[in-house]
């Protein structure tokens, strides 16, 4: 069974760590009506109990540090420990974000240097480091596009075209940015249907959002034609750079004609994702879009970086507080500086090597998308196993028992029973060989003894939690803790 919660082991009156001491009167002139009438119901535990609780719970989670995580499109590569060290240097970690610019020269240089490096790697003219995650970068990109067209008086351009193979964040971001989303059906091959796209383009089209390489792990055959058509229609082309690991150092999105691109530092630049976040989603744009970047903007004058927060600019405004997730961005900078011009192209080359090798090893095990070379990931379909009552999710559970995390399942939506596998450049041939062998064995077993796979996982602390029960009358907090919502008045 699971560990008890913090409140289940809480003992009223127990104390953990003492903050700097306070003594004397605690009447500070705040009227009773504005004071809390009972303390928050925090757990009461000794320091040791807290340490044990979290240490033992950590054993019940798998990270890159413990397991191979072949989650497609998530690029779970090694997160260098040296980058953590850099971010924790007191000069960075104890820096107040509202320090006068004279007091944050070092941080500004770091952020300015990262911007410059990303400009080069993305082939773009300007970069913002503000967005807190990839999806946040998308929203930023949408707002930039919107502001751009407003500045040109083309206020009717409100339509964003999104291929149906795109990440769900693309349409969601477009919608959040107040745009109208139109989905474009992909070709049976998974590629963009250029003809359909051309037909959809109009004077109302603001932008087309393209994931490159595609969510099938394929490079769009007709990308240059697509870009030409969109530009011809007066619209912009956006690249969802979630899969940028496939291009890093070997292909610059700007060279392909993209106007805007975002990347996810926790994917491409090896910053740790911490179980769901933090992330960071820098956005690069071509020069015609630079004036619209969010504030604050880092500027370089006479080799010195500073930041500007111009009130009267054409900027879309700030998209978050302060300069950005600098603790994450320092890790991204560390990664780029460590690899340098020699190492960066190797990332993409070996990501491609690993994906193509594993794809080859799994050839014939399950049908895959795209017959030739893939990019950094590939998609298999578990559809043939449906006849045995086994689905993609069941194979995933089998892989958990075999000592891996699972691939991304049921995505992209256009592939039935999809399993999206991304090995990254950081996994060794031995690991890929072992995975291929285990994967093949599981698929084989699924056909011969489906009940065994359906009963997986057996080696995990829980198995197949009831998600329907969870969603029916959701329990979102420890029921032993009272609801705080007293609604006094």
């Amino acid at each position: 069974d699971m560990h008890p919660t913090l409140w289940e082991i809480s003992r009223p009156g127990a104390r953990g760590v003492f903050p700097p001491s306070v003594s004397g009167s605690t009447d500070f002139g705040v009227p009773e009506v504005s004071m809390r009438d009972s303390p928050p119901c925090l757990p009461e535990l000794s320091e040791l109990e807290v340490v044990r609780h979290f240490t033992n719970l950590s054993h019940l989670s798998r990270g890159v540090d413990t397991h191979f995580i072949p989650l497609g499109s998530c690029t779970m590569k090694y997160n260098p420990k040296v980058s953590d060290k850099v971010a924790s240097l007191p000069g960075f970690s104890d820096l107040h974000p509202r320090t006068d610019p004279e007091g944050m020269e070092g941080l500004l240089e770091a952020m300015g240097t990262l911007s410059d490096l990303l400009k080069s790697l993305l082939g773009m003219d300007a970069v913002t480091l503000a967005p807190a995650a990839g999806a946040h970068g998308e929203l930023t990109g949408i707002l930039i596009a919107r502001k751009y067209f407003e500045s040109r008086g083309e206020t009717s351009r409100k339509v964003i075209l999104v291929p149906d193979s795109a990440h769900g964040t693309n349409p969601a971001s477009a919608s959040m940015g107040g745009m109208v989303v139109r989905s474009i059906t992909s070709k049976p091959s998974g590629h963009i249907d250029t003809a359909a796209l051309e037909k959809a383009l109009s004077s109302e089209t603001a932008m087309v959002m393209i994931t490159a390489p595609s969510t099938l792990g394929l490079f769009e055959e007709e990308l240059s034609e697509v870009v030409r058509l969109v530009h011809k229609a007066g619209a912009l082309v956006y690249m969802d750079g979630a899969n940028m690991n496939a291009f890093l150092g070997v292909l610059k999105p700007g060279d392909l004609g993209f106007d805007i691109v975002h990347i996810n530092t926790h994917k491409t630049l090896a910053t740790p994702h911490g179980g769901g976040g933090p992330g960071s989603g820098p956005v690069g744009v071509k020069s015609h879009l630079a004036p619209f970047l969010p504030t604050p903007v880092i500027v370089k004058m006479n080799h010195v970086y500073s930041f500007a927060n111009p009130e009267d600019s054409s900027s879309i405004g700030p998209v978050r507080s302060f300069l950005g997730s600098t603790g994450v961005l320092l890790r991204a900078l560390s990664y780029v500086l460590l690899l340098g011009r020699e190492g960066l192209p190797r990332v993409a080359l070996y990501a491609l090597l690993n994906a193509n090798y594993l794809k080859k090893k799994l050839d014939g095990v399950l049908p895959g998308e795209g017959p030739g070379l893939c990019a950094h990931e590939f998609v298999l379909s578990a559809k043939p196993l449906a006849a045995f009552g086994v689905h993609a999710g069941d194979l995933a559970k089998g892989l958990l028992d075999a000592g891996y995390y699972a691939p991304t399942i049921h995505f992209p939506l256009i592939v039935p029973e999809a399993l999206m596998i991304e090995p990254t450049e950081c996994e060794s041939k031995s690991m890929l060989d072992a995975f291929a062998e285990d994967f093949s064995r599981i698929v084989e077993k699924a056909a011969l003894h489906p009940s065994e796979i359906l009963s997986a996982p057996l080696r995990t602390p829980v198995s197949r939690p009831d998600e329907v029960l969870a969603a029916r009358d959701p329990v979102l907090k420890d029921p032993t803790v009272s609801s705080g919502n007293l609604r006094k008045d």
């Binding site: 699971m2 760590v17 700097p20 306070v22 605690t26 705040v30 009506v33 928050p40 925090l42 009461e44 033992n56 950590s58 019940l60 989670s61 540090d65 590569k77 850099v86 240097l89 104890d94 107040h96 974000p97 320090t99 769900g168 349409p171 969601a172 959040m176 240059s224 292909l251 060279d255 392909l256 769901g276 976040g277 933090p278 969010p294 405004g317 998209v319 978050r320 507080s321 600098t326 994450v328 460590l338 190492g343 192209p345 070996y350 090597l353 090798y357 080859k360 070379l373 991304t408 450049e425 041939k429 995990t460 829980v462 939690p465 009831d466 907090k477 705080g484 919502n485 609604r487 006094k488």
Partner: protein, 457 residues
Amino acid sequence: MADFIPHTPSETREMLKEIGVDRLEDLLAPYPKDHVLPDLSDIPSGLTESSLIRRMQEMASRNKAGGSVPIFRGAGAYDHFIPQAVSPLVSRGEFLTAYTPYQPEVSQGLLQVIFEYQTTMANLYGMDLSNASVYDGATALAEACLVAHRQEGRSKILISEGVDPDIAKVVKTYVEGVGCSLNPIPLVSGKTRLQDVIAHLDDQTACFVGAIPTFWGTVEDFSGFADALHQNGSLLIFHANPHSLAVLRTPGSWGADLATGEGQPLGIPLSGGGPYLGILTAARPFMRKIPGRLVGKTLDREGRTAYVLTLQAREQHIRREKANSNICSNETLLSIQALVTLSLLGPEGFREAALGSMKNARKLRSRLLSIPGVSAVWEETPFFHEFILEMPMESRELSRLVLSEGFLSGLPLAGYPSPGGKNRMLWCATEMRTEEEIENLGRTIEKVLARHGGRKS
């Protein structure tokens, strides 16, 4: 000098052979030939670990950061006590290098921790529930306003001038995109008057946003706000500093529908501005309307307690353009950090830290007011741990001079709308400040003013 690629040359050769190509570069065949392997000469050569540390240490040394510089500035980011046990726990690889817990069987630790975080935040804010976090306080408030907008399709958002003006700008960026307007409600002596809110209510009013405490440090009485808003079909939203909620009345008990906050004060390093923690809590009726991940408790097929991501039907990967939000990554690691911090402090320690902040802020205020030419702005308005003073010098210049003496002063309010002003500063003292630091700051300001003539500019 590192690329974290494990392959040996012979392995690479074997793998290429298995794929059926000769060279690594052959794998680039699907890419446009014109553009592959571009010039990277503007990117420097790779550094070794020790060169990297040297270089970054050099940059870090050019920042005036806490530890070497006592911090008397808050304004949305605070130098609070972080127990030393936090970092070794949060930086454990199992948490640090995990992805979103899509596979619950191998993510129970992470899921339980998020569930505990949700429990803590819901209780701290006095609300029914909390999500698993959003990016930061500003985007949390923006998302809450969007929830209010979507609720009835109303587009008018009333926002107290007590809300951090920089956060209001972020909200503006978000809500203008979907056609909403932001309408400021003035602050009078540091307080939002109910009559001013009522005067702005109409059938397009989606919500009112108040601050606990205000950006300017004051603590308000929000009696009657909930009734007035709810009668108008509008929502009540608070943006609250979670540290203050150790002692101040909760959004929930003021009758809030949604409440947000910046979680940085809960054990998260200042770190130059991020990553921080967006707290988003809600009353039960908004459970299916709020964005972000939610972890729920359930049973597995053996009847064992288990935790899972739940209500995913709200999310972007299922609902796409009809999703509640585009949010995908959140700030889970920071939510763990806040949870560990609060678990170590417990209710009593947490309360003591808040009271320590209040006490030190009052000591600081007295000391600064003892300096000739320094005067209070609001004499009577209750405050938490921040307050505005009129200084006898242009505030940005004073800040620079004081920083060069080794103290981060209050925030210069030159350039801010009222109650900001050219010579005004927003001062803060947390429980971390000592008597000695306050006294040394006082003397430093006296010295600086004496040297520079304390000129009113």
